[in-house]
C-alpha cells in the first residue's frame, strides 16, 4: 500500500503536467457538481418556505358558528396530507382589516366583526395535495368559498419537480462524463506505461503490485479534485452570499448549515475516491488482460 502510494506520488511528480490536467478536470467537474448541489439546496429552502405558507383558504359563511369553524379545523387536522391548520376568527379578520386600513380610520370604523367571515388557512404536506384539500374544504358545512391560487401553485409544483429531476439528470450525466474522463486520462497513463506493465508481469508481479500505483493515482486525482472543487464552490458561495440574500429577501435560504457543507465535502471525497478507483481499475484491467 505504502509502496503503491509512493510510486503514485513519484509518477505524478515526474509528469506534473499530466497530473495537473487530471486534477484540473476533476476539480472542474466537482466544482460544477458542488455548485449545483448548493443551488439545489438554496432552491429547496425557498420552496420549503413557500410550501409552509398557507396555501388554501376556506371562507365561512358570515352566519357560521364558532363550533362549525372548530369542527372543520379538527376534521382537517386529521387528514394525513394536511401540515397545518390555522383558524382566523371574525375578530382576527377585523384586526387584520383594521391593520391594513389604519390610514383610513373612517373605513375601519364602518366595518364590524359581524360582517367579516371566519376562515381556515390550511397548509399541505405537498403541493400535489392542494386539490384534494380544496375538495375536502368545499364539502364542509358552512364553508362559503375556497380560494387557492391554482395556477401559481401548479407552476410552483412543476418548478419543484423540474429542478429536482434536472438536478438528478445533470448530476448523473456529469459524473458519467467525469468517470469517462478519468478513465481516458488514466488509460493514457497506462498506455504510456504499457512496457513497464509487461515487464512487471514477466517478473512475476502480482496484479495489485501492477494496479496499485495506478489505482492510488486515480484515487488521488478524485480526492484532490473533489476537495479543491469543494473549496472553490465554497469561496464562490461566500462571494455570492450578499446577492443571494438580496434576491430572496425575507426567505432565509442562507447560511447553509455546517453539517450540510461537511456532508457535501465528505460525499464528494467518497464520490471522487469511487470515480478514481473504478476508472483506474477499468483502465488498467484492459491492459493487464492484453
Amino acid at each position: 500500500m505504502f509502496r503503491s502510494f509512493a510510486t503514485a506520488l513519484k509518477t505524478m511528480r515526474r509528469s506534473p503536467y499530466q497530473a495537473m490536467v487530471a486534477i484540473l478536470m476533476m476539480t472542474l467537474s466537482f466544482f460544477v457538481a458542488f455548485s449545483f448541489a448548493l443551488v439545489l439546496f438554496v432552491a429547496n429552502r425557498a420552496l420549503q418556505y413557500i410550501e409552509t405558507k398557507p396555501q388554501v383558504i376556506a371562507y365561512f359563511d358570515v352566519k357560521a358558528t364558532n363550533e362549525q369553524v372548530d369542527s372543520a379545523k379538527n376534521a382537517m387536522q386529521q387528514k394525513p396530507y394536511v401540515a397545518e391548520v390555522k383558524v382566523v376568527t371574525k375578530q382576527d379578520a377585523l384586526k387584520i382589516f383594521q391593520e391594513e386600513n389604519k390610514k383610513d380610520p373612517l373605513l375601519s370604523d364602518l366595518v364590524s366583526a359581524d360582517i367579516l367571515p371566519a376562515s381556515l388557512e390550511v397548509s399541505a404536506t405537498s403541493v400535489d395535495e392542494l386539490e384534494t384539500i380544496s375538495i375536502d374544504l368545499k364539502k364542509i358545512d358552512g364553508v362559503d368559498e375556497v380560494v387557492y391560487q391554482k395556477e401559481v401553485i401548479a407552476k410552483l409544483a412543476s418548478w419543484t419537480k423540474t429542478i429536482r429531476q434536472s438536478g438528478l439528470a445533470v448530476t448523473g450525466v456529469l459524473f458519467l462524463i467525469t468517470l469517462l474522463l478519468v478513465f481516458v486520462i488514466l488509460s493514457l497513463r497506462v498506455a504510456v506505461k504499457r512496457k513497464e506493465i509487461g515487464i512487471l508481469n514477466l517478473l512475476g508481479a502480482s496484479r495489485w503490485y501492477i494496479r496499485g500505483p495506478f489505482m492510488i493515482e486515480g484515487i488521488l486525482y478524485g480526492v484532490i479534485g473533489s476537495v479543491i472543487g469543494w473549496v472553490s464552490s465554497f469561496i464562490v458561495l461566500l462571494y455570492a452570499t450578499p446577492a443571494i440574500v438580496g434576491f430572496f429577501g425575507e426567505i432565509r435560504v442562507l447560511p447553509i448549515p455546517t453539517l450540510t457543507l461537511v456532508s457535501l465535502l465528505g460525499g464528494g471525497v467518497l464520490v471522487g475516491l469511487f470515480l478514481g478507483l473504478v476508472s483506474s481499475y477499468l483502465a488498467v484491467a484492459r491492459f493487464i488482460r492484453h
Binding site: 515487464i199 512487471l200 517478473l203 508481479a205 502480482s206 503490485y209
Partner: protein, 231 residues
C-alpha cells in the same frame, strides 16, 4: 535426480505454422545449455512456454516437480519469480535508474529496503558495474545494459536463468564477456539456458548444445570441449 526443466512431447502452433512438433528436452540442475537455431525456429517460444506467456497445444512442461500448464494465475506469478529471464532487448525501464531496475524483482516480493540496497551493491559488483546504480539505462552501453538485465534477473536468486538471445545486439567481444558472466553465474550453481543463433559463441565454451530443428530438440553435442578433446 529430478530435472530442473523438462519439456515432454510439446506441440505448439501459431495459426497454421508448426513451431514445435513432439519436442522433448530435459535440463538438469546446475547445467548450462545452449539452445541454438536460426531465427524463427522457436527459441523465444521456448522461453514463453516456460514462463506461461503462451501454452502448448499438447505436451507438458515441468520445472522441478511443478507442472507449468496446471498452475493457477496466482501461481504463475510465483513461477515467474523462480525463473530469471534475460532478453535480447534488455527490457529495462528507461525512466528508472539502474538500481531501481535491479530492485524491481525484490520489490515485487516485498524485500526490505536495506536488503534491496545491499543486494543491488552485490549484484553491481558481480556484473562489473559498481557505482553505476544511479545512472539511467539510456546512459549505458549495450553491454552494460545487458549486464544490468542479468543483474535484475539474478536479484531474486532464481534457480534458473533463461537468456533469450542476450548477445543479439552486442559486438563479439562484449557478447563473449556476457557469456563469460553467465558461465560464472552457472558455476555459482544457477542453471542457465541460453538461446542464441551465434554458433561461434557456443563453440569455445564446451557446454551442452541443443539445436531446434524441424520443431524438435536435437542434441548436437554433449560438451563442445569434450568433442574437441576426442578429435
Amino acid at each position: 535426480m529430478m530435472p530442473m526443466v523438462s519439456f515432454s512431447n510439446i506441440r505448439k502452433m501459431y495459426g497454421d505454422q508448426v513451431i514445435f512438433d513432439d519436442l522433448n528436452l530435459t535440463v538438469d540442475p546446475g547445467e548450462f545449455v545452449f539452445i541454438i537455431g536460426r531465427s524463427g525456429v522457436g527459441k523465444t517460444t521456448l522461453m514463453r512456454l516456460l514462463t506461461q506467456q503462451v501454452t502448448p497445444d499438447a505436451g507438458s512442461i515441468f520445472i522441478e516437480d511443478i507442472e507449468v500448464g496446471k498452475l493457477k494465475r496466482k501461481d504463475v506469478q510465483k513461477l515467474r519469480r523462480m525463473i530469471g529471464v534475460i532478453y535480447q532487448d534488455y527490457k529495462l525501464l528507461t525512466e528508472r535508474t539502474v538500481g531501481e531496475n535491479i530492485a524491481l524483482g525484490l520489490e515485487i516480493i516485498n524485500k526490505p529496503k536495506e536488503e534491496i540496497n545491499s543486494r543491488i551493491e552485490d549484484l553491481l559488483q558481480l556484473i562489473g558495474l559498481p557505482g553505476k546504480a544511479n545512472l539511467f539505462p539510456t546512459q549505458l552501453s549495450g553491454g552494460e545494459a545487458q549486464r544490468v538485465c542479468i543483474a535484475r534477473a539474478l536479484a531474486t536468486a532464481p534457480r534458473m536463468l533463461f537468456a533469450d538471445e542476450p548477445t543479439g545486439n552486442l559486438d563479439d567481444e562484449t557478447a563473449r564477456s556476457i557469456v563469460r558472466l553467465l558461465s560464472k553465474i552457472n558455476e555459482l550453481g544457477t542453471t542457465v539456458i541460453m538461446a542464441t543463433h551465434n554458433q561461434s559463441l557456443v563453440d569455445h565454451l564446451g557446454k551442452r548444445v541443443v539445436s531446434i530443428e524441424g520443431g524438435k530438440a536435437v542434441e548436437k553435442v554433449k560438451k563442445t570441449k569434450e568433442k574437441g578433446k576426442g578429435e
